[in-house]
């Protein structure tokens, strides 16, 4: 991607527009492709059809066998269409992706007792994407096979011997080391991160709304375009009016929460760091250890403890009642529908300080000690007060250095599942709605998908969350020094 012109230093060579480079890349690629076919040896020409043919031609038998075996396996996979639970992979899975030819099942034949299994649309879509991924791998292997043969051709042309298998392996440890190192992650991430994400995004364009996750064997659904996105404004989606009436309040609260949580924890953390690092203070280590407890102890323990302390029967409420300050238990955390929504909101922000301040404290402690002391000396000579020095030197310095952290903690707070889920469970709830007063987009997403099985609406909420976090991150990140000077920094 081209750096934005505004932030690019003047002496930097201006790169071509992304599209220009992309177009040129494709052009070059086709030229190379043709060249290889025309210039290559018979082996290279054959490699266009049979993987590894070129390698056999150049007597690289092990490599050639590997290519050939992979090609045969993939073709078998695509043609034979192995199936799991009655849903096929392969070319049939590609055809199934349209979801136009599905059969209803789940009936018992009273005479024979046989169970007719219907189409499982969820697996059909999933396997369709898996098949597409396999085809992409096939294409990559195809190029690699041609390339490898062509490289051997070139080696012979300049009077070298084609590389042996051992030499290829050695290359993997040196000039091609990144291939060796990145392949496990690429495969694992493709299967367990990219594929699931694409699959769930696709569900946003479907009618998939399944109440029971384990009864999915008879699931039927079809594609319905942008209907679920429009439903956010019209309310005629699978969630009914909930998505229309609750989406914007939840979105608004998510943003308010993210801003409040980030800012309060940030400044709280800086102040705590200043206090702990004060000159002459003893027991720094003990204090720091105490505050780090909220990071070290799993949140489901610490937050559930707070939830129970503040709960209806907990010590706080009984103390308040014994003191005669209140007559009944106060619903601090909105666990009952009748509780005050705003009290619950204030409480989660306050309790979040307990969890969040130590992070910033740790982060800024080191930075505070690294502020050049001559800045303070100069300010003292000028007669500046301590408060003034804090606002004019300390704070600007810390903010400057920790901008990336601020962004990532803002994005983290938008997705702050644990705090809300464990403290309030999203409550107080409204009659007829899933999304309660303190629900964030992520906790709502959880309720909508895991509890309710409205995968399509959940996916819509997830996509909106992504759009918010992506916009914030990309806008701020691309302006940051860390991105623009990534190369110079090394």
């Amino acid at each position: 991607m081209a750096p934005s012109i505004k932030s690019a230093p003047i002496n930097k060579v201006k790169k071509d527009n992304f599209f220009v480079r992309f177009g040129r890349g494709i052009g070059e690629w086709f030229t190379n492709f043709g060249k290889r076919f025309a210039d290559g040896s018979i082996g290279t020409k054959l490699s266009h059809f049979i993987f590894g043919a070129g390698n056999f031609y150049h007597k690289q038998y092990i490599k050639g066998t590997m290519f050939l075996v992979l090609q045969i396996l993939i073709i078998l996979f695509l043609v034979l269409c192995p199936s799991v639970n009655g849903t096929p992979y392969g070319y049939k899975a590609l055809a199934n992706l349209s979801l136009s030819n599905v059969t209803e099942g789940g009936d018992f034949d009273p005479n024979t007792g046989a169970f007719t299994q219907g189409s499982n649309c969820m697996l059909m879509v999933l396997f369709g994407f898996v098949t597409i991924a396999v085809i992409i791998i096939y294409i990559i292997l195809w190029f690699k096979s041609i390339q490898s043969s062509y490289k051997a051709d070139m080696d012979i042309k300049v009077g070298k011997k084609p590389t042996t298998f051992i030499e290829d392996l050695k290359e993997l440890l040196d000039s091609k080391f990144h291939v060796l190192m990145l392949t496990p992650t690429c495969i694992a991430a493709l299967v367990f991160t990219v594929l699931p994400t694409i699959f769930m995004i696709s569900l946003a364009f479907s009618t998939y709304n399944q109440q029971d996750m384990d009864a999915q064997m008879t699931t039927l659904f079809h594609w319905n375009g942008f209907h679920n996105f429009v439903a956010v404004f019209t309310g005629d989606g699978t969630l009914g009016m909930e998505i229309k009436n609750r989406f914007f309040p939840v979105l608004g609260w998510t943003l308010v929460w993210a801003i409040l949580a980030t800012v309060t924890c940030y400044f709280g953390g800086i102040i705590l760091a200043l206090l702990i690092n004060k000159k002459g203070l003893k027991g720094k280590k003990i204090f720091r250890t105490i505050f780090i407890l909220t990071i070290a102890v799993p949140q489901f323990i610490s937050l559930l403890a707070v939830r129970n302390i503040l709960g209806e029967y907990g010590p706080v409420n009984s103390l308040l009642q014994n003191l005669g300050w209140t007559t009944g238990p106060i619903g601090f955390l909105g666990l009952n529908a009748a509780d005050n929504e705003y009290l619950a909101k204030v409480m989660v922000v306050i309790i979040n300080l307990w969890v969040g301040i130590p992070y910033t404290m740790l982060m800024t402690s080191g930075i505070l000690m690294n502020i050049p002391s001559d800045l303070y000396e100069a300010a003292t000579v000028d007669g500046a007060s301590k408060t003034k020095m804090f606002f004019k030197i300390t704070l600007p310095y810390v903010i400057f250095v920790t901008t990336p952290y601020l962004i990532s903690s803002f994005v983290g707070n938008i997705n702050s599942f644990n705090t809300i889920f464990l403290l309030t469970g999203g409550g107080p709830t409204y009659v007829g709605y899933q999304a309660g007063g303190t629900d964030l987009l992520v906790t709502w997403l959880y309720k909508v998908t895991i509890d309710q099985g409205s995968y399509n609406t959940g996916a819509v909420i997830g996509i909106f969350t992504f759009m918010i976090t992506a916009t914030i991150t990309l806008v701020t990140y691309r302006r940051s020094k860390a991105y623009n000077e990534e190369d110079t920094f090394q």
């Binding site: 990144h178 323990i301 403890a305 029967y313 982060m363 080191g366 998908t449 992504f466 920094f489």
Partner: protein, 312 residues
């Protein structure tokens, strides 16, 4: 000049006094804050030792008194011997499951993260920048979105929600935890970036392969970040209750991790408010090793988070 010299001792003394006052105030604030920070933990520990009986029946619920009226080890004893969700001696089993998952996840994740971070930081290749941008964008999708798809995917392989061969669920959970780990390379990369390139270059001039540079130069220098990554991936399974809950499913309580199990004591399909003190005992058992580990490796944790967050 003269003036300032004369007034210096007096000024100095008053400043000293002001310093003493501000130090005292700082102590006060920090001590009050420490107490606030500790109260919930103290309460959990006290609850875990609470051993109260009303009319001869054991009271395991949340009670209104902060300090227990009677102390004992009953909760711990019950926790280790009780049958939860039809699984006898469930808690020790959950502990063992979590330990296995944590150790395997720790090894795989740390290896993946280090290898990706090294490539991104010290090797130059064609798709490097593209890879970095793509991982950043993928990382912005809420994890819950893909969580359900991962469940279905693992289920179609028989690795999750599998009641016939329950141990396979644990394999599935390890896969789910560690497969995407390599994409979280940013912190380690930030650390590798600080290792001077000249070191790598001079090794190359000496004829070292990239593999040798990684093993002989980078790894020994990367001890803090290795410890940080190992700590993070080891403690992850002890802390996560939601991913494990979805992947393993409610049908296989014998495969749960300790976090899922403890959470289910209070909020599961058979919630029992009388189990709160046992829950507290479980919390203490889980927290003790994790917190101790954390405190010992605090230095590396701080180094890790700062390396990742404040670059540039």
């Amino acid at each position: 000049m003269m003036n300032s010299n004369v007034s210096k001792p007096k000024h100095y003394r008053s400043q000293k006094k002001a310093n003493a006052v501000s130090l005292a105030v700082t102590y006060l604030i920090l001590i009050v804050m420490s107490i606030i920070w500790l109260i919930p933990f103290v309460w959990v520990v006290l609850s875990s030792f609470r051993c109260e009986y009303v009319d001869g029946t054991f009271v395991g619920t949340v009670t209104s008194n902060f300090f227990p009226k009677a102390l004992g080890f009953t909760n711990y004893k019950n926790l280790f011997t009780a049958t939860y969700y039809g699984v006898s001696h469930a808690f020790p089993r959950w502990l063992l499951n979590t330990l296995i998952v944590a150790i395997v996840d720790c090894i795989i994740s740390t290896f993946l993260v280090l290898s990706v971070a090294y490539c991104m930081s010290k090797l130059k290749f064609k798709l490097r920048k593209a890879f970095m941008n793509i991982t950043m964008i993928i990382g912005l999708f809420p994890g819950f979105l893909s969580m359900i798809a991962i469940y279905f995917l693992l289920k179609s392989m028989g690795l999750s929600g599998n009641s016939d061969n329950p141990t396979l669920n644990i394999v599935g959970l390890v896969l789910a935890y560690s497969a995407g780990a390599g994409l979280g390379f940013q912190i380690a990369k930030g650390f590798f970036d600080i290792i001077p390139n000249s070191l790598v270059e001079s090794a190359k001039l000496d004829g070292c392969s990239n593999f040798k540079i990684f093993i002989k130069i980078i790894i020994p220098l990367a001890k803090p970040i290795i410890i940080y990554q190992a700590l993070m991936s080891f403690t992850g399974p002890w802390m996560d209750f939601i991913f494990a809950k979805v992947i393993i499913g409610s049908g296989n309580p014998e495969c749960w991790t300790v976090a899922v199990g403890l959470y289910s004591l209070l909020f599961g399909t058979h919630p029992d408010t009388n189990l709160f003190t046992q829950f507290a005992a479980g919390c203490v058992i889980v927290s003790l090793p994790i917190t101790t580990l954390f405190m010992f490796l605090q230095k590396y944790y701080v180094e890790g988070v700062t390396a990742g967050a404040v670059k540039g």
